[in-house]
Amino acid sequence: MSDSLYAQLVGLSGGVLLLSAVLIVWRRSISAEVRLLAVQGGALAGLVTVLGVNEGSTELLVVAGLVLTLKVVVLPGLLSRAVARHGASLHEETPLINTTTSLIALSLLTMLAFLVSRPLLVLGDDPAIAAVPIGIALVLYGFLVLATRRHAFSQLIGFLVLDNGIGTVAFLTAGGIPLVVELGASLDLLLVVLILQVLTARIRSEFGDADLDDLTELRD
C-alpha cells in the first residue's frame, strides 16, 4: 500500500469515526443513534484493516473481523432489538444540557483532545500517530453522552462510544493489541451490554420508564 493511500485511508476512517460520534450527539431518536453506532463500528473495523494491511499482520486482520462482527452486527443488533421491544418512538426527551450546548461542547472537547494528545504526537510521523487525537476525542464524547443523557439506552450508547475511543487509541498507538487481550476485552464489552440490557428491562418493568433520574431517590 502506498504511503499517500495509507494516510488517506487512515484519515477517512478517522473522519467517519468522528462524524458518526458527532451525529450520535446531534440526533435524539435512539434507533438512529444505534444505526450510527453500527457505522462507527464499521469505521473502526476499517481502520484496523488498514493498519493490518499496512503492517502485513494477519493477527490484526483477524482482530478487524472480530471488531466487525461485534461492533457492527452483534451489539447494534442487541440494542435495536431492545429498542424495538421498548416501543416504536424512543426519544431522549430531556437531556441535562440541550443539543445546541452539547454540540458546542463537542468542539471544545475536540480542542481539548488535540491539546492533551500533544505529547503523543512526538512518537513519530506516522499518519496513525497523527490520528490519535480522534480516539481521545471519541473517549471525551462518550463521557459527555454518559454524563448528560438521562435515558438508560442513551447512556449505554455513550459507553459504547467511549469504548470505541479507547479501542481507536489502542490500535493507533500500539499498532494492535494481542489477539487474546482483544478477545477478552470484547467478551467483557458484550457481557456489560447484556447485563445493562437486562438491567434496563428490569428498571422499565419496575418504574414504567428507563429514565435513570427516577432512581435518585429511595422509595418503599
Partner: protein, 317 residues
C-alpha cells in the same frame, strides 16, 4: 492586473444580474413541477422585476431615510459580492483581493440593511422578521468563516481566488474528508443565509413564521424590486461560490474572451445543477421550528470546526 480584474468583475456582475432571477425562477419551476403544479415559468422573476420597476414607490407613514437607503445599500452590497466572488475567473485586484473576510463583511452589510428596512416602518411583522434574521445571521457568520478557513489552511491564504485556483490545480483535494466536511457545513450555512427551507420558507406570505418576507412587507415599487433582486443576487453568488468550490472546473485562470465564454457556460451549468438540487431537496423538507434552528446551525458549526482540526491533522501527517 487591475484592468483585467475590473473587466472580470464587470463580467461577473453582468452574468449574475442576468442569471440570478433566472435561477430563482428555475428553482420555483422545479418545485412546482415536483409538486404537480404547472408553475409560472422560469422567466417569471424577470417579469416581476419589470413590473415592480415600472410602479410608483410608496413609503409607509412615519418611515425615515433608512427605508429609502436600505434597498440601495442591499443591492450595492450584493453587486459587490458578485464582483468579488471568484465565479468566472480567479483574476483579482492586487490592492483589494477577494479575501474571505472582506466578502463575508460585505454580505453582512446587506443583511443589516434589510433588517433595518424591516424595523423602520415599526410594524409588528417587520420587527419579528428582522429579529429572526439577525439571530440567524449571527449564528451563520461563524460557520461561513470557519468552513472557508478550513479550506484555506492547505492553500495558506484566505483569498478565495487562490483557494479556487489551488483546488483547480489539485482536483484530488476536492474529495478529501476535510473539504467535504467544510463544504457540507458551508452548504447548511448558505441555505440558512439565503432563507431557504428548512430555515425559512421563501414561498409563504402572511404566516407567523416568515423571516425574509416579513421584512419586505412595507416596501413597494422600485424599493421592493431592489430588495428582491438583492436577495436573489446573494443566493446566486453564494450558490455559485459553493458550486465553484465543489466543482472548480471551467473557471478562467487568465483573462481571454474564449476563457470567459467557457467559464460563463460552466457557471450556468454549475448554478443550474446546484439550484435544481436544492429545489428538489426542498420539496421533501418541512420548515424547522424556529427554536430548533440554533441546533442545526450549531451542528454545522461543529462540522466546520472539525474540518479545521482535521485539516491540521492532514497537514501534520
Amino acid at each position: 492586473m487591475n484592468a483585467e480584474a475590473a473587466v472580470l468583475a464587470l463580467a461577473q456582475v453582468v452574468a449574475m444580474v442576468s442569471l440570478s432571477p433566472l435561477l430563482v425562477g428555475m428553482m420555483r419551476q422545479v418545485r412546482a413541477r415536483l409538486e404537480g403544479r404547472a408553475g409560472a415559468g422560469a422567466l417569471q422573476p424577470w417579469r416581476d422585476l419589470r413590473k415592480l420597476l415600472a410602479k410608483e414607490t410608496l413609503q409607509a407613514a412615519g418611515t425615515s431615510w433608512v427605508s429609502v437607503a436600505g434597498p440601495t445599500v442591499l443591492i450595492v452590497s450584493s453587486l459587490l459580492v458578485c464582483a468579488m466572488t471568484p465565479l468566472l475567473g480567479t483574476v483579482t485586484f492586487t490592492s483589494v483581493p477577494d479575501d474571505l473576510f472582506v466578502v463575508v463583511s460585505v454580505l453582512l452589510i446587506g443583511t443589516v440593511a434589510v433588517a433595518l428596512v424591516g424595523l423602520d416602518a415599526g410594524t409588528a411583522f417587520g420587527g419579528m422578521g428582522s429579529s429572526r434574521h439577525m439571530t440567524i445571521a449571527a449564528l451563520v457568520e461563524p460557520t461561513v468563516l470557519v468552513s472557508v478557513y478550513a479550506l484555506s489552511i492547505p492553500v495558506g491564504s484566505s483569498v478565495l481566488s487562490q483557494i479556487v485556483a489551488a483546488r483547480l490545480d489539485d482536483p484530488a483535494s476536492v474529495a478529501s474528508p476535510v473539504s467535504l466536511l467544510a463544504l457540507l457545513a458551508l452548504a447548511v450555512a448558505v441555505v440558512a443565509e439565503t432563507g431557504r427551507l428548512p430555515v425559512d420558507n421563501p414561498n409563504t406570505h402572511l404566516e407567523l413564521t416568515m423571516v425574509h418576507e416579513a421584512m419586505v412587507l412595507e416596501s413597494s415599487g422600485r424599493d421592493l424590486a431592489w430588495l428582491e433582486l438583492g436577495s436573489w443576487l446573494r443566493l446566486g453568488a453564494l450558490l455559485g461560490l459553493l458550486s465553484t468550490l465543489l466543482m472548480p472546473w471551467g473557471i478562467a485562470t487568465e483573462l481571454s474572451a474564449g476563457g470567459l465564454l467557457l467559464a460563463s457556460g460552466a457557471l450556468v451549468a454549475k448554478i443550474a445543477i446546484t439550484g435544481a438540487l436544492l429545489a428538489g431537496v426542498e420539496v421533501f423538507l418541512a420548515k424547522l421550528r424556529l427554536f430548533r434552528i440554533p441546533e442545526l446551525l450549531a451542528g454545522s458549526f461543529v462540522l466546520a470546526f472539525l474540518a479545521v482540526t482535521a485539516s491540521y491533522l492532514v497537514v501534520q501527517a
